[in-house]
């Protein structure tokens, strides 16, 4: 199969190797971020509370590996090299970071909105 290049510099690899690798990095990075966010109670990076975030993180990492090695049969032949690994891993990680921040923001926003609604409901019942 013919080799393709990105911007004439980075090897894009054969078939779906590169998109699958980026998705693999994004899923694995998201898992690692959830695990760390759970360990250090960083609610800006996860929508889950502490032990659940760690479980979800570990499960995502395992899933990323199982999925990537299952869908990508040509891993034992020459493929991506040093520079490509760095760039594509970086893209995957950034994607995972942005996704984690958005997810955490949405979860915190809805939790805040329901807390406000509860408080105002309590307030109105006390006034009556």
């Amino acid at each position: 199969m013919e080799q393709r290049f990105l911007f004439g510099l980075l090897m894009w690899g054969e078939g779906s190797l590169t998109p699958n690798y980026i998705l693999f990095c994004a899923l694995g990075s998201l898992g690692a971020l959830q695990f760390v966010a759970g360990t250090y109670a960083r609610r800006d990076l996860t929508p889950f509370r502490s032990p659940l975030a760690q479980v979800v993180g570990a499960a995502l990492i395992v899933f990323a590996f199982v999925w990537f090695f299952a869908v990508q049969p040509d891993l034992f032949i020459p493929g991506l090299a040093g520079g490509e690994f760095v760039v594509y891993s970086g893209i995957g990680f950034l994607g995972a970071y942005v996704f984690a921040r958005i997810l955490a923001w949405l979860a915190n926003r809805s939790a805040h909105a329901s807390a406000v609604a509860r408080a105002s409901a309590d307030h109105s019942s006390v006034s009556k």
Binding site: S29, L33, R42, I61, F69, S89
Partner: protein, 193 residues
């Protein structure tokens, strides 16, 4: 006979003993599994820490780890410009391969230098995670020899280069501490911290 070659043959003879061991070795030795796992770990450690001081310490550790990674790769490339050592499968008789045939110099091992730089870099600021990474690096180096793509001295040299590249800048280049403070400030400004 050269002890390097003797040890190489001992380890390479483990190939083909058991299909299970061969499969396991293939999953460890390939270009994707352990390097990607290390990338996930280093990336996530950037966000670790329960208070501001701890977070700052983790960020500095990650930056020094990345600097070590860069230096290790530069040293390996310089070695390659000065010296070419053929791969064992190209020179030795009866080598059993579990891997494709890399064309770059066998000495020093670039993937082992890369993983050792990452593992030692993390070990210097987070002992528990760093120990696991060091163990995986040892396993990876062992498997590279077993798979027939490196001599033991290649992976040993790679490991020493990686460890040195992680340790020396942290201990002996104070200017890098100031540079990292600047980078962390920049990352915070762009919401990446």
């Amino acid at each position: 006979m050269n002890p390097d070659v003797i040890v190489f043959h001992w380890l390479n003879d483990l190939t083909g003993v058991s299909p299970l061991l061969d499969t396991l070795a293939r999953y460890i030795v390939n270009d994707y599994a352990i390097p990607a796992l290390f990338a996930f770990i280093v990336g996530a450690l950037w966000f670790a820490g329960s208070d501001d001081a701890a977070r700052d310490r983790f960020k500095r550790g990650v930056l020094f780890t990345l600097i070590g990674l860069l230096i290790a790769n530069l040293i390996v490339k310089l070695f390659w410009m000065a010296y070419f050592r053929p791969r064992p499968f190209a020179v030795e008789e009866g080598v059993k391969l579990l891997f494709y045939r890399p064309s770059v110099s066998s000495f020093p091992s670039e993937p082992v230098a890369t993983l050792a730089a990452l593992a030692c870099g993390v070990f210097l600021f987070e002992r528990r995670v760093g120990s696991i990474m060091l163990l995986l690096t040892f396993l990876f180096a062992f498997t590279r020899v077993m798979a027939g793509v490196h001599y033991p001295s290649d992976v040993l040299a790679g490991a020493l280069i990686g460890a040195g590249a992680a340790y020396v800048p942290l201990r002996y280049v104070p200017a890098l501490h100031r540079f990292n403070t600047h980078l962390i400030g920049l990352a915070k400004r762009f919401g990446l911290a």
